[in-house]
C-alpha cells in the first residue's frame, strides 16, 4: 500500500454537503434579525429612485431612448447584488473569522475549512438574491420592470452574488486588518459603482476607458440585469453570462485556496 495522501491536499468533495450546517448557522443569524435586515433593501431603492431617477432624471431628456429612471433602475438592483455579497464575505466573514472566532469553533467539528468557505460563499450568493429580489419588487411597484423577463433577475442575482462573494473572500484572505477593507471598497467597489454602465451609458466614456470598463465584473452584471429588466437585448448577453460564470468559479476557487493558506499553518 502506498503512503496515504494527506486530507489537506485532497480536492473538495461537494457531494458530502457538510457545508450546509454552516450555511444554516449564517441563515439563522440573519433570520433572527430579519426585520432589521429587510429594511435597507426596501428603503434604499426608493431613495435612489426618487433622488436620481425622478430628481436628476427630470434634467435629462432620455438615455438610449428611455427615461433616465428606467435606465438606472436595473443598475441599482445590480449594485445591490454586488454590495450585499461583497459586504458579506468581507466585513461579516472577517468578523466571524477574526473577532468572533466562529470558524475556529466550527473547524473543531467534522467540517473543514473548505466547508466553511463554501458555506460563506453560498450564503453571500443567497443574500444577494434576497436583497436584490426585495429591491426588484419595490422597483416593479414603480412600474419600471418588464415581466416575465424580469424574473430572470433572481438567478442572475445568485450568479453575480457568487462573483462578488469570491472577490470579497479573496480580499478577506489577504487584508492584514479589518480597516483595510475601506481601501478595498474605495479602490474596487466605488469605481465599479460609477463606471459600469450604471448611471450613464459606457459609450459616453473615451474609447480606452470604455473598453477597460467592459472588463469589470459589474459591467457584465449590469448588461444581463438591464436586458432582463427591460425585456430587450443588446447582443452582449451571452458574453456577459459566460464572463460571469467563469469569474464566479475562478474567484471562488482562488478565495478558498488563499483562505486555506491564511488559516492552515
Amino acid at each position: 500500500m502506498t503512503e496515504p495522501k494527506s486530507d489537506w491536499d485532497r480536492p473538495y468533495d461537494v457531494r458530502a454537503r457538510p457545508m450546509f450546517a454552516m450555511f444554516g448557522r449564517n441563515r439563522d443569524v440573519f433570520l433572527k434579525t430579519w426585520k432589521v435586515n429587510f429594511i435597507p433593501p426596501i428603503v434604499e431603492p426608493v431613495l435612489y429612485l426618487l433622488a436620481l431617477g425622478y430628481g436628476l432624471g427630470a434634467l435629462i431628456e432620455e438615455v438610449n431612448g428611455m427615461p433616465y429612471v428606467v435606465f438606472i433602475a436595473p443598475a441599482l438592483i445590480t449594485i445591490t447584488m454586488m454590495q450585499s455579497a461583497f459586504f458579506e464575505t468581507t466585513y461579516s466573514s472577517y468578523v466571524r473569522m477574526f473577532f468572533q472566532k466562529t470558524w475556529d469553533a466550527v473547524v473543531a467539528t467534522p467540517l473543514t475549512i473548505e466547508d466553511i468557505m463554501v458555506a460563506e460563499l453560498l450564503w453571500a450568493g443567497v443574500r444577494s438574491v434576497i436583497y436584490s429580489t426585495i429591491m426588484a419588487t419595490v422597483v416593479a411597484l414603480f412600474g419600471l420592470l418588464s415581466f416575465p423577463s424580469a424574473l430572470l433577475i433572481i438567478p442572475i442575482a445568485f450568479l453575480v452574488g457568487m462573483v462578488f462573494a469570491g472577490l470579497g473572500l479573496m480580499a478577506s484572505a489577504k487584508v492584514p486588518a479589518i480597516d483595510s477593507f475601506s481601501y478595498v471598497f474605495y479602490l474596487f467597489i466605488t469605481p465599479q459603482f460609477l463606471f459600469s454602465g450604471t448611471f450613464f451609458p459606457l459609450e459616453q466614456l473615451p474609447d480606452p476607458i470604455e473598453h477597460a470598463a467592459l472588463a469589470l465584473p459589474l459591467t457584465n452584471a449590469v448588461i444581463l440585469v438591464r436586458s432582463a429588466s427591460l425585456g430587450t437585448t443588446t447582443g452582449l448577453e451571452l458574453f456577459a453570462f459566460v464572463y460571469l460564470v467563469v469569474a464566479a468559479f475562478v474567484f471562488c476557487g482562488l478565495a478558498v485556496g488563499w483562505m486555506k493558506r491564511r488559516l492552515i499553518d
Binding site: M1, P4, K5, S6, D7, W8, P18, A21, M22, G24, R25, D28, V29, K32, Q100, K101, T102, D104, A105, V106, V107, A108, T109, P110, L111, T112, I264, D265
Partner: protein
C-alpha cells in the same frame, strides 16, 4: 457513532501498540517556518484515562493539541487518534472529539441553548436528539437557568461551563481541555473538576492542559511536562513527585537582607546531600527526612522561620522547567 469508528479503526494501518490507546504520537513535530513549536514528541494516551499536558507558556501545548484535533497538519512524525491517521481521516476523527479551546469561541449571535443546538448540527445530530442533549448538558453544567440568555450576559465562569457543555454535544470519545479553568473563581474551578471526574467515570478519555499544578496532580492519571516543544518528563503525578523532590518540602527562611546566611545554609545542605533551590530570601529543600535536621539548621544558621509542607507537582514543574519567566 461508535460502531463506525471501531470499524474504521480496524481497517486502518495503525501501529500495533495503538490497540487501546486513544492518541499515539511518534516523533510529532510541528514547525512554523523555521521555528520549531513541537519538537519530535512521543505520546501514548490510554483509553479511559486523564492525561495531562503541562508546560510553561509557549511550550507548545496548544500547538500539539491543534495537530491532535486535526486542524493543523503536522510537519513530521505520525499521529493516530482513535486508531485513525490524522493525515487522512480528519473528518472521522473530528466527529469523535470534544474540544474546550484555550480561548472561548462561543457564538455571540445566539442564545446559550442555540449555541449548543447549532453546534450539534455540525455533527449532523438530528434536531430532536440535539434539543434533548442540549437541555441535559445545560443541566450537567448547571446553566439551565441561563438557557435563553445571550452569551454577552454570561460571566467568565458560565461561558467556560457552556464551552464544556458544547464540547460534549457529540458524545465524544476523547475530550480535549485546553486550560479549562484559567481565570475562574474557586467555585467554578471546583465545578469543572467535578464534571471532569464525572466524565472520567463514564469512561471518557481526557486530555488536559493546565497551569494549575494542583489541578493536574488531582485529575491526571499520567502527564508529560514539555518545554520548548520537547518532553522533559513523563509519569504519574505521585511517581514524579517521589522521583524529583522526594516526599517533603521545607522552606528555610533567612530573610532577604542576609545573603551570607543563605550561602552558608546552601553549603551545609550540599554537604548533607540535600537537594534545594535558592529563592531571594529562602532555600527550598526537598527530601524524605527533613524534620530530623530542621531544628539543627534553624539554630545553627539563625533562621527566622522554617515551613514544612508536602512536596507538590509544582515543585517538580519548577525544578524541571526552571524559575525564569517565559515569553
Amino acid at each position: 457513532m461508535a460502531p463506525d469508528a471501531t470499524a474504521r479503526a480496524d481497517t486502518s494501518n495503525r501501529p500495533t501498540d495503538a490497540r487501546d490507546a486513544v492518541v499515539v504520537a511518534r516523533g510529532l513535530t510541528k514547525r512554523y517556518g523555521d521555528f520549531v513549536a513541537v519538537d519530535g514528541i512521543d505520546l501514548t494516551i490510554q483509553r479511559g484515562t486523564c492525561f495531562g499536558l503541562l508546560g510553561p507558556n509557549g511550550a507548545g501545548k496548544t500547538t500539539a493539541i491543534k495537530t491532535i484535533q486535526c486542524v493543523s497538519p503536522l510537519t513530521e512524525g505520525t499521529l493516530h487518534v482513535l486508531g485513525m491517521d490524522t493525515r487522512t481521516e480528519r473528518r472521522h476523527i473530528k466527529r469523535l472529539l470534544g474540544l474546550v479551546p484555550q480561548e472561548d469561541n462561543l457564538d455571540p449571535d445566539f442564545t446559550v441553548f442555540k449555541n449548543l443546538t447549532t453546534y450539534a448540527r455540525f455533527f449532523r445530530i438530528p434536531r430532536r436528539t440535539a434539543h434533548e442533549r442540549a437541555d441535559r448538558l445545560l443541566h450537567f453544567v448547571q446553566l439551565q437557568e441561563k438557557r435563553d440568555a445571550h452569551i454577552q450576559q454570561l460571566s467568565g465562569g458560565m461561558k467556560r461551563r457552556l464551552v464544556v457543555a458544547r464540547s460534549l454535544v457529540n458524545d465524544p470519545q476523547l475530550l480535549i481541555l485546553d486550560e479549562p479553568t484559567t481565570g475562574l473563581d474557586p467555585q467554578a474551578r471546583h465545578t469543572i473538576w467535578d464534571k471532569i471526574r464525572a466524565l472520567k467515570r463514564e469512561g471518557k478519555t481526557v486530555l488536559l492542559t493546565t497551569h494549575y499544578m494542583d489541578e493536574a496532580e488531582m485529575l491526571c492519571d499520567r502527564l508529560v511536562i514539555i518545554d520548548k516543544g520537547r518532553i522533559l518528563e513523563e509519569g504519574a503525578p505521585r511517581e514524579l513527585i517521589r522521583k524529583h523532590v522526594g516526599g517533603q518540602a521545607m522552606e528555610l527562611v533567612a530573610g532577604a537582607e542576609r545573603p551570607e546566611t543563605l550561602d552558608a545554609l546552601a553549603a551545609d545542605l550540599d554537604a548533607r546531600g540535600v537537594t534545594y533551590e535558592r529563592l531571594s530570601d529562602r532555600l527550598l529543600a526537598f527530601g524524605p527526612n527533613l524534620n530530623e535536621i530542621e531544628n539543627e539548621l534553624r539554630t545553627k544558621h539563625g533562621l527566622t522561620e522554617t515551613i514544612e509542607r508536602r512536596a507538590t507537582l509544582e515543585d517538580v514543574f519548577l525544578r524541571l522547567t526552571g524559575r525564569a519567566l517565559r515569553d
